[in-house]
């Protein structure tokens, strides 16, 4: 049982002239478990910003407070610099604006927040600070809080915190009262503000605990310099830190303090009713994002689906995931999306007004056993990062066709990629998973441990819990042949037939994907060989299907193909209209109806992924992904669901099943196409055991009665 969270933060303020001594003190503070290191700004001597940036590189966890004199810097550049430091340090930065005769801290605060707001394209400001169309961004790693020292009324009405001194207790008490009044006068909740007190020594600890319980002080900072007595920091940590933290817990229990600072009023106004925001455990609250937060617009939507979730939880550890699932159990009345990379075409990882559990932070990639090529990968890792991490070993693990896809969603559904014909589906490499189940228990599933769950995770994982790590045996993969061919297509029907025949005769080293678009067809093909002659020999029959209008063949690392698309934020709008079908061969009938669909203009994306080869080496009942006889996976996307379905329904008779990852239609009928009857019966039985009430219900739910899903 972890110790109950205290809202009190404890820190050290570095007042040293000797920068090396200051750094030692910061490192020591982190070692001693303090929460903050404060680097004040001074008008001469060492530069605080450089020092705090260096400390960021020498520490891992401790919060960083950078003192700023607004007149000493270009504020636009400071906005950018703050973002950089916040991102480099993993979201650890707080700014403290010092009083300045030239530039009001309130104006600086406004300009800084606007430099971090990427919902506008340009920032213009005409005051003591001038910006004439500066580019805002990039987005900080978290909401950077801005404290002020000095003018207590200004802080009360505008800032996220006020930093004062303990020198004169009566004056301090007056100031804290003034702070509360000015906050209330500005229609703010006084709990939005942190109250931070610096001290150089202490004699009356009771007076300090009173500051917490009576005045809502949230942080105590011990000021240290070269002349501070030996061992002062240790004594602070041992003697008074526990009492201050306990006072904080007491103040929360009494309602005098909130567990963490309350969001600003304009953000709280955007909360969704029915979500117990204030009941979130503090460690989850620390990384949660809600409407109105700076980060919200960058993560509300996924790759193809626009979303407006009411709360996005971003667990940083397995125990965070357990708590997030517990929170979800209390919120069954709203949708629940589980997100790893947010790239899923089916769009299930966001929703409107619901909860999203985003496991993107669980993204470690670790080689466990070099001889066995056993690798442990977190669900939040992206496939491009997996490819990049495995490349130095001469290894690869096939995924899909885009490096921006996250591991978790794909590795619980299938994974039909460029290495699939040679090495099988991604799930075929899985040795075990660690999962959090609906009831909050953590389990490991593998061939000998929870084998039924292990079977189910490989194709229907989204129904059973949240995977927190995967162990894969990966393949030895040399550089590969990578071809991009473009054809002129005069007769799509004939082209499809020929493509089907050619792929059937192509060795399993080669996995071609086909995209048809009007009179042009694009083939992207990977040949798992670094022998130029072999590569060309395997590609030649494909290249002869129709007249080539463009061709490029290179030998490159697998990782280079996965890194082909740069990372870009997901900012989709609306609902994706994507349909999936699996065929065991391309028959004349299928080709003819497909040609009609292409001609209809109802779809703007029509892709065939070749399957077979190693995929078909696995028995249909070995994994919950059962369609081992499929020769191609077909995806069609359009903008109008009715138009797409009118054409797509004509193709359905040819399908032997669907692949869940590319199917955005969540009607119950699709479930029976995703899982053949014996598979479905087995999955339902297990669902009844592990998630009888249907907590995981937004991604091909196996329990009909609970399939509230998301608004279609």
């Amino acid at each position: 049982m972890s110790r109950q969270h205290s809202p009190i933060k404890l820190g050290v303020e570095l007042a040293h002239d000797d920068v090396a001594a200051a750094v030692d003190c910061a490192v020591e503070a982190e070692r001693l478990g303090l929460d903050l290191v404060v680097v004040p700004s001074t008008s001469s001597g060492p530069d605080g910003w450089s020092l705090v940036s260096w400390i960021a590189g020498r520490t891992d966890r401790i919060g960083l407070v950078a003192g700023i004199d607004p007149a000493q810097r270009n504020l636009g550049v400071l906005g950018r610099a703050s973002t950089s430091l916040d991102r480099l340090s993993g979201g650890r930065l707080t700014l403290e604006l010092h009083p300045s005769p030239e530039i009001s801290p309130a104006e600086a605060l406004t300009v800084l927040r606007r430099m971090w707001d990427t919902s506008t394209r340009r920032v213009r400001h005409d005051g003591a600070i001038k910006l004439a169309g500066a580019e805002p961004g990039p987005l900080p790693a978290h909401d950077i809080r801005i404290w002020m020292s000095g003018d207590v009324e200004l802080a009360g009405s505008t800032a996220d915190g006020w930093h004062g001194r303990l020198d004169d207790p009566d004056q301090l008490a007056q100031n804290l009262q003034l702070l509360r009044k000015s906050a209330e006068k500005a229609d703010r909740d006084p709990h939005e503000l942190e109250r931070v007190i610096t001290l150089t020594t202490w004699d009356d600890v009771d007076a300090m605990t009173t500051l917490v319980t009576e005045h809502g002080v949230t942080a105590f900072i011990l000021r240290i310099d070269e002349n501070s007595p030996e061992g002062l920091l240790e004594r602070f940590v041992q003697e008074i830190a526990p009492r201050l933290r306990e006072a904080g817990r007491q103040a929360v229990a009494d309602g005098a303090l909130t567990p963490s600072p309350v969001r600003r009023a304009e953000i709280r106004a955007r909360r969704v009713s029915g979500i117990d925001y204030d009941g979130l455990p503090a460690h989850l609250a620390a990384n949660a994002v809600e409407p109105g937060d700076a980060l919200y617009n960058s993560i509300r939507s996924n790759y193809l689906r626009g979303g407006s979730p009411g709360l996005i939880l971003r667990p940083q550890s397995v125990s965070d995931v357990v708590d997030a699932v517990a929170f979800a159990r209390r919120h069954r009345h709203i949708p629940l999306g589980i997100r790893s990379g947010g790239h899923g075409v089916s769009g299930r990882s966001t929703n409107d007004g619901g909860l999203v559990i985003d496991v993107g932070a669980l993204n470690d990639i670790e080689v466990l056993d070099r001889d066995r090529r056993l690798v442990r990968i977190g669900p939040g890792a992206r496939w491009r990062d997996v490819a990049t991490a495995l490349q130095p070993y001469g290894w690869a693990l096939g995924s899909g066709d885009h490096g921006g896809v996250g591991v978790g969603g794909l590795a619980t559904a299938g994974g039909i990629g460029y290495l699939s014909r040679k090495h099988g589906l991604t799930i075929d490499h899985l040795q075990s998973v660690d999962m959090v189940l609906a009831d909050g228990t953590t389990v490991r599933a593998g061939r000998s441990e929870n084998p039924e769950l292990f079977w189910a995770v490989r194709g229907a994982g989204a129904n059973f819990g949240i995977v927190t790590s995967f162990e894969f045996v990966v393949d030895e993969v040399s550089d590969v042949g990578w071809a991009q061919l473009a054809f002129h297509v005069s007769d799509p029907e004939e082209f499809l037939l020929k493509f089907g025949e050619t792929v059937a005769a192509t060795p399993r080293d080669t996995t071609p994907f086909l995209i048809m678009n009007g009179s042009t067809a694009h083939v992207m093909a990977m040949v798992a060989s670094d022998d130029p002659d072999e590569i060309l020999a395997q590609l030649r029959p494909i290249a002869q299907i129709a007249p080539l209008v463009q061709q490029q063949v290179v030998i490159a690392p697998y990782a280079a193909v996965m890194n082909m698309f740069p990372e870009s934020p997901h900012q989709a709008f609306g609902e994706p209209v994507s349909r999936s079908g699996l065929v065991t061969s391309i028959t004349p009938g299928f080709a003819a109806v497909s040609a009609r669909l292409l001609d209809s203009g109802a779809v703007h994306w029509f892709q065939l992924r070749s399957m077979g080869g190693a995929i078909a080496d696995v028995e249909p009942d070995a994994t919950a992904f059962a369609h081992r006889d499929a020769a191609f996976q077909i995806t069609a996307m359009g903008s109008n669901a009715q138009r797409v379905d009118r054409e797509w329904d004509r193709l359905r008779p040819y399908f032997s099943g669907i692949y869940t990852s590319f199917e955005a239609d969540n009607s119950p009928q699709r479930l029976t196409e995703a899982f053949p009857p014996p598979t479905l019966a087995r999955l339902r039985k297990l669902k009844e055991q592990l998630d009888p009430t249907g907590l995981f219900r937004d991604n091909f739910p196996l329990t009909d009665s609970h399939s509230v899903g998301s608004p279609a």
């Binding site: 060492p46 530069d47 450089s50 500066a134």
Partner: protein
């Protein structure tokens, strides 16, 4: 044609992209591990997809042990000189003397103005640069008693407290191409830092530029070798030769050795965000160029 006899340095020119967050830091760590002498980052504070360079440098410096770091080159119009001097000195102390100062007068005036910088004409920008250098050196100079006063037209300080003193004397390397700028470099700078790709007249521009710098240095009572000749380079490793620095490592060695001996270039900074290329440069090119230049100098001097 001069070899100024400086020890050679090899470094990289890294794009400070903000995403992936640690990309630029990893390039610095790699350069450090490979034994390169220098890591440099562009400084374009108006570009939102880049990290702030003078934030990235301290962070990357904290994660490296030996390599020197600098901006290539610092955008002076958006940095306050006294503040920049304190920043460099602070870092120089933290790193034990691993920070240098690449400086530029600024070029993209629309973007600079958008960020709140003052739009200057080329001549004004040069004056501002000269004033900036005077302030920076003045802040570093703690041996002169009293406050620092520089009554410049664009940058001014009145009675400013000096210090901190850097751990070593950071070199001020200035980028630029036009004759007036080159004369300023010869008069005040510790190095000339052009990019090969911006030399409109090709590599021969190095000789023409150095001539102006040498003259200016001498008329300012300095020696030409007081101004290092640095060069930002683009290149590609390839099995067959396709042009200048586009070919096998042997060809690179030959071409860089020639730059050192003929044009006096002593600091070679390669544009590289690619670990493979950086490694090849550090392992296959740098030691061999050092050997060749040492041999050539040994026989001629």
């Amino acid at each position: 044609m001069t070899d100024y006899g400086h020890d050679l340095m090899f470094g990289t020119f890294v794009t400070p992209i903000a995403q992936p967050v640690q990309h630029a830091v990893q390039q610095a760590v790699l350069a450090d591990r490979l034994g390169l002498d220098l890591v440099t980052f562009q400084d374009h504070p108006y570009v939102s997809r880049f990290h702030d360079t003078w934030t990235l440098i301290p962070y990357a410096a904290a994660r490296t042990e030996r390599v020197r770091l600098t901006a290539n080159v610092t955008n002076l119009p958006l940095r306050f000189p006294a503040q920049l001097a304190r920043s460099v000195a602070t870092l120089d102390r933290l790193t034990g003397g691993r920070i240098e100062l690449g400086l530029g007068a600024g070029g993209f005036w629309d973007a600079i103005e958008a960020m709140g910088g003052r739009r200057l004409r080329p001549g004004e920008a040069l004056t501002a640069l000269e004033e900036g250098v005077q302030i920076i050196r003045g802040v570093w100079d703690t041996s002169t008693p009293g406050g620092l006063t520089v009554d410049g037209k664009f940058h001014a300080v009145r009675g400013a407290k000096r210090g901190p003193a850097p751990a070593h004397r950071p070199s001020i390397w200035i980028g630029g191409y036009k004759p007036r700028m080159l004369r300023t470099i010869g008069t005040i700078a510790d190095g000339w830092l052009p990019s090969a790709q911006n030399l409109r007249g090709g590599i021969e521009d190095l000789a023409r530029g150095s001539e102006i710098i040498d003259e200016a240095a001498e008329s300012a009572g300095r020696r030409p070798q007081d101004v290092r000749r640095l060069l930002n380079l683009t290149g590609d490793f390839d099995d067959t030769s396709r042009g200048f620095l586009q070919g096998p490592p042997d060809q690179w060695v030959e071409e860089l050795t020639d730059l050192a001996l003929t044009y006096g270039t002593s600091v070679f900074i390669l544009f590289s965000d690619d670990p493979g290329m950086t490694e090849m440069f550090a392992k296959e090119v740098a030691p061999a160029v050092r050997d060749e230049v040492r041999k050539a100098r040994g026989t001629t001097s």
